[in-house]
């Protein structure tokens, strides 16, 4: 699954320069914001000990990397006795393979970032430590964060992640293509009826309006969003059985597949083909992550917009993931470094307005509800989805089952190799066996 992330970040890399400029512009505004947030987040966190160096690992290889580095540099210049050294590698496979190996060798970083759906696995494998004490020391409270994001950082009753942001799926549209198809470019479809009408309208002008990617990015995310919209879920309550072959799952998948069958999407869309088509004016709509604002923003003369996902099913829902700060396990933890790491985590979260400008929705309420964030062009559209974003469950090994087993059903069905129900049944059968293995391995959950 590594390459899929790489491809996305490959696209992002191109947008890095543009994002950098945005950050420079946004610096001044974020200061007051940060000060206000610092108090809110209980920012009494201080470090007065001897000078320490902190190794900080993450997978920000795209346009987000330079922004985090800028934050780190700013932090270093403001803190004489803490020097943070940032190490960036690709999330998968590199980061999620090397971080555990480094921890096992006693060479793990002092602080790191992980996705919220990876916390369970890394907690179960002893890669990261519980942060309840850290949260208490920093005076962080649930009420300071969006509750959907905050709640996701808990595994087996203990908190392992402190949320920095969330990156949900949104609905991108090419305004020029919409106009060409006789649609109002400022009124993207938001309901099922509007969506189908728009596609029919576009089809009348020989435009395939909603390319459906059979790849993990973002076919899988589109499917899960729809699954949740139709009232289904990936797994049962205690994550012992996969449930994507429920009626809701079949309905979600059939809707996606029908876009292809009815000719609203070509067959065999290649990796990123949907994105490129939108950029080239061949595709009108694209369900994609917030990270694409940098990619589309960097395309000269592309007239585009983004809105919350249209509601196709019976309720609103959107796939999302979240970057969380974690503290990796150390054989002989240095209390000074631990204290310094707390200061660093609190500082970055409080300064997350700058982070948001790079294409994220900040987890901290004070930042997200602040004027500086509201003034951003695209990010607030994604923030609207916060009440109904869904994260993958953090049970250990489940992300791997999602991406290696369940995702295969999306691929098979969208490529029209298998009927939706058959594809989902096969995937569920395989997933259930692995869930059983995982339960034995990680002891229940």
């Amino acid at each position: 699954m590594g390459r899929r992330l790489t491809r996305r970040e490959f696209l992002l890399a191109g947008a890095g320069a543009g994002a950098g400029l945005m950050v420079l512009g946004g610096c001044g505004a974020s200061r007051d914001q940060a000060a206000a947030a610092r108090t809110a987040a209980g920012g009494g966190a201080r470090y007065t000990g001897p000078k320490v160096n902190l190794a900080f690992w993450n997978g920000f290889t795209g346009g987000d990397g330079p922004i985090m580095l800028e934050l780190v540099n700013q932090f270093n210049s403001e803190h004489e006795n803490i020097q943070v050294d940032m190490v960036t590698m690709m999330w998968a496979p590199d980061f999620y393979q090397k971080a555990p190996a480094a921890v096992a060798a006693g060479q793990g970083p002092n602080v790191a970032i992980m996705h919220v759906d990876r916390l369970g696995l890394n907690a179960a494998r002893g890669v990261i430590i519980p942060l309840d004490g850290v949260v208490e020391a920093l005076g962080l409270q649930e009420s300071s964060f969006a509750s959907t994001i905050w709640d996701a950082g808990v595994y087996e009753g203990k908190r392992y992640g402190i949320p920095l942001d969330t990156h949900p799926l949104g609905f991108y549209y090419n305004k020029a293509v919409m106009e060409e198809g006789g649609l109002d470019p400022n009124r993207p479809p938001q309901t099922r009826d509007e969506y189908m009408e728009a596609l029919e309208e576009l089809k009348g002008k020989d435009i395939q309006g909603s390319w459906v990617p059979p790849s993990l990015f973002t076919g899988w995310h589109m499917f899960t969003s729809l699954l949740w919209q139709f009232g289904g879920d990936l797994y049962n309550e205690d994550v012992t059985r996969a449930t994507v072959n429920s009626d809701a799952g079949v309905e979600a998948m059939s809707w996606m597949v029908d876009l292809v069958k009815r000719g609203y999407s070509p067959k065999n869309v290649a990796q990123d083909g949907d994105v490129i088509a939108l950029q080239n004016g061949q595709n009108a709509f694209n369900w994609n992550g917030i990270w694409m604002i940098n990619v589309f923003g960097a395309v000269p003369e592309l007239e585009w917009g983004v809105a919350p996902l249209p509601q196709i099913g019976t309720e609103k829902a959107a796939w999302a993931n979240s970057h969380n700060f974690v503290i990796p396990n150390q054989p002989n933890p240095d209390p000074n470094k631990l204290r310094a790491a707390k200061v660093f985590i609190a500082w970055v979260i409080e300064s997350s307005q700058k982070w948001a400008e790079g294409g994220q929705v900040p987890a901290l309420n004070e930042v997200r509800e602040g004027q500086a964030f509201e003034d951003l062009e695209w990010q607030p559209e994604f923030a609207k989805e916060l009440p109904y974003v869904h994260f993958g469950p953090s049970a250990p090994g489940v992300t791997e089952i999602n991406e290696n087993i369940l995702y295969t059903a999306v691929n098979e069905a969208v490529l029209l190799n298998e009927e939706p129900r058959a594809a989902l049944d096969t995937a569920v059968e395989r997933a259930n066996k692995l869930l059983q293995q995982n339960q034995q391995k990680y002891g229940g959950y």
């Binding site: 998968a92 494998r125 290649a270 791997e400």
Partner: protein, 323 residues
């Protein structure tokens, strides 16, 4: 002939430990010398540390539910192997599908990688102006890393905006929408094609060396006897290259069976794991899903297959040589 020449000189020192029958008993014990062992020691050390020990340790891992980060590695005996041969187990279907993918790739890439480089070598062995330039050209792709080759071909093959479909579209063929990386058999054609382009230079160079080792007098003698071009090729060139064939075929089969990067980068195993090779699946099982015991068991099955194929290959080609 190169390979035979090396064999002969290699056999001359006849160290007793090598099991060669040497002159008298007294003489052989008397001439015992540490020298060859000292020379072999550095390689032996590396071989032990990086091949022998991991191979044995891997066997041990394959008998457990192994995850190096968990406190306990439960012993499961042969369960990981049994799973691979039990239809409906979580691994069996995927594993044999990936073995099949490896098999398909090997089956279709090896013939091209054996024959095309030979033709290239025959041409490059002629004397013509700019020969060195062409020799360098054909070898050039081989120096690229698989990541570079992968990214390069992604752009060329992409069904939506790739160069090939662009030009096919311009010529009005296939509506310019051939699914080069997303459907079969196109994905295999792409993977085999790019691999042949990438690695043919290596085999061509080996052939070229072999061709230059064939005694020119044989050709002259054959010409005098009235043999035509084809007869000279069949009766002098082919037999002369036999040891080179053995090497090229063996190495190419092993390299093809170890294919990883091309699928990983260009098709990502798509459509639906159809082009996910054995090595790719083993890496995923061991390093992404952290089921190292199961992954180790798969590696042994794959290794067993490769050993069998290599033995058959040696038998077959050596027998021919003895005839």
């Amino acid at each position: 002939m190169a390979a035979q020449g090396i064999e002969q000189t290699g056999a001359q020192p006849t160290p007793p430990a090598a099991g060669y029958p040497s002159g008298g008993k007294a003489e052989s014990t008397g001439s015992f010398s540490w020298t060859p062992y000292v020379f072999l020691a550095p390689y032996l050390l590396l071989f032990t540390v990086f091949i022998v020990v991991p191979a044995i340790f891997g066997l041990w891992i394959s008998l457990h539910n192994w995850d190096y980060l968990l406190p306990e590695q439960p012993w499961v005996g042969l369960q990981n192997y049994v799973n691979l041969f039990t239809p409906g187990s979580p691994t069996a279907g995927f594993f044999w599908q990936s073995m099949e993918a490896t098999g398909i790739f090997t089956l279709f890439s090896v013939p091209f990688l054996v024959i095309i480089p030979l033709l290239v070598a025959l041409i490059l062995n002629q004397s013509f102006r700019g020969r060195n330039f062409f020799r360098a050209m054909y070898f050039a792709p081989y120096v690229l890393g698989v990541a570079v080759v992968g990214v390069l071909w992604q752009y060329i093959l992409n069904p939506g905006f790739g160069l090939i479909n662009y030009y096919l579209g311009a010529l009005g063929i296939g509506e310019g929408a051939v699914p080069w990386t997303t459907a079969l058999p196109w994905a295999w054609i792409s993977l085999v094609g790019m691999t042949v382009w990438w690695t043919l230079g290596f085999n061509a160079i080996i052939y070229l060396a072999g061709l230059q080792d064939i005694n020119q007098e044989l050709y002259e003698a054959a010409k005098v006897d009235g043999a035509n071009r084809w007869q000279r090729f069949v009766n002098i060139t082919i037999p002369g290259l036999r040891p080179v064939f053995l090497f090229v075929i063996t190495v190419t089969i092993l390299a093809s069976a170890n294919m990883f990067g091309q699928s990983y980068l260009v098709t990502d195993g798509a459509p639906a794991n159809e082009t996910r090779t054995a090595i790719m699946y083993i890496a995923e099982e061991g390093l992404e899903n952290f089921r190292m015991g199961s992954a180790a068991a798969m590696s042994y099955i794959l290794a067993l297959f490769l050993a069998l194929i290599s033995i058959l290959n040696f038998r077959f080609l050596n027998q021919k040589e003895e005839d």
